[in-house]
């Protein structure tokens, strides 16, 4: 054997000496070392994530307890006696009376049941100035948290500042849960303060009553003066309004005359300016 090896080319022998250990090392890495290394990496990752989960356990327990409480509170809302179909109209009417909202009689409408939740739709019709309706809705929102507005249509009544509200209110309850507590205004929760709104968008500006069709004379406004003439004399200027002479600073029908210029007299009331023009009799100015 040794004689045969001695007869081999030394170069082949050197190559064999390098190649055989390399092949053994490669086979060992693929079959043994790499799977073992991967298994170790997996074990390290598992260990880290387990430690992290253990560290987060108290926080998760607290979160779970908070969610259970929240679910209980929501569940109680679904059982709120005030939102029962026998009691809700009474509550809505008492809130309407508080806010001086005129309310037509309310009757429960169609019921829809889905996975243990019952939705009852109420068709409600009310009328009042817009700010009162908004305050009333805010109270409904606060007092009946298991209700939601599905549809609300505000329409201004012609020639008045009153607004009609057609409301479709959906109330969510557990099916067949009779009320257990007596109903009454102020028996549950705290009422949020009414929203502070700064505009009544259904109130038309003074001097722009416009329910008449174009081309037709508009219905009479509260004060529709006609400027017939001006007498310019500096601070002593005078305006002839509805055949009445008015000096700067004087008041006519609650409107104070603030300035007179060519063809024009400017009155002011409650921060609103009313410009009378001999060429264009009256023009509303914001």
């Amino acid at each position: 054997m040794i004689r045969r090896l001695a007869r081999l080319d030394p170069q082949v022998l050197r190559l064999a000496l390098v190649a055989v250990p390399a092949m053994v090392a490669l086979a060992g890495w693929g079959q043994v070392l790499r799977p073992a290394w991967q298994a170790r990496q997996t074990a390290v990752a598992l260990h880290t994530s387990t430690q992290q989960a253990i560290a987060e356990l108290p926080a998760r327990r607290a979160e779970s307890a908070r969610l259970v409480k929240e679910a209980d509170a929501l569940e109680r809302l679904l059982e709120a006696p005030e939102s029962a179909s026998t009691h809700l109209p009474v509550l809505l009417e008492s809130l309407a009376a508080e806010h001086k909202v005129d309310l037509l009689p309310i009757f429960p409408g169609r019921d829809t049941e889905f996975e243990g939740l019952l939705e009852t739709l109420y068709q409600i019709e009310a009328s009042a100035p817009y700010p009162r309706l908004v305050a009333w809705l805010a109270d409904i929102d606060a007092r009946i948290p298991n209700a939601g507005i599905n549809d609300a249509r505000f329409s201004r009544l012609a020639a008045t500042e009153s607004v009609t509200l057609k409301l479709r209110l959906a109330v969510y309850r557990r099916p067949a849960t009779p009320p257990t507590l007596p109903v009454g205004v102020g028996t549950q929760g705290e009422i949020r303060s009414a929203p502070v709104i700064h505009h009544d968008p259904f109130r038309r500006p003074a001097g722009s009553t416009t329910d008449a069709e174009p081309g037709q004379p508009a219905p009479p406004a509260a004060w529709q003066p006609i400027l017939r003439g001006v007498l310019l004399a500096g601070k002593a200027s005078l305006a002839n309004v509805d055949r009445q002479m008015v000096a700067i600073g004087e008041t006519l029908e609650g409107h104070r005359l603030v300035s007179i210029s060519d063809h024009r007299a400017v009155f002011e009331k409650d921060g609103r300016r009313l410009v009378l023009d001999m060429r264009r009799p009256m023009e509303p100015r914001p």
Binding site: A138, N150, A152, E283
Partner: protein, 105 residues
């Protein structure tokens, strides 16, 4: 209501305001509908520029996503002129709009 109030000024007023929301509970056999609400307004303004400002304010500070503004006819009265308008839009999700409750406008 409050974002709408913030977008208003005194140069326009409404004849009608309509808020509508999809029903939350699905009809039997159907999937729950997406929570979506819409607002449409119809009114008059003393100046067309005021309507544009209002529509911009509805999108910027108010509850609307891309309000669609439809200017109406200008009506000429004996003493003034009014522009009719209508605006409609989809309402932002409550969190995005900063509203207090998803169920209320």
């Amino acid at each position: 209501m409050l974002p709408l109030d913030q977008a208003l000024d005194d140069t326009l007023w409404f004849d009608e305001l309509h808020y509508a929301r999809q029903a939350i509970l699905p009809q039997p056999g159907n999937l729950p509908p997406p929570a979506e609400a819409s607002l449409s307004l119809r009114g008059k303004a003393t100046a067309a520029a005021g309507i544009g400002r209002f529509a911009d304010a509805l999108a910027a500070r108010g509850p609307c996503i891309k309000p669609q503004l439809v200017p109406g006819a200008a009506k000429h009265y004996t003493r003034f002129e009014l522009v009719e308008f209508s605006v409609s839009c989809t309402l932002k999700a409550p969190a995005a709009a900063g509203a207090e409750s998803g169920a209320k406008p």
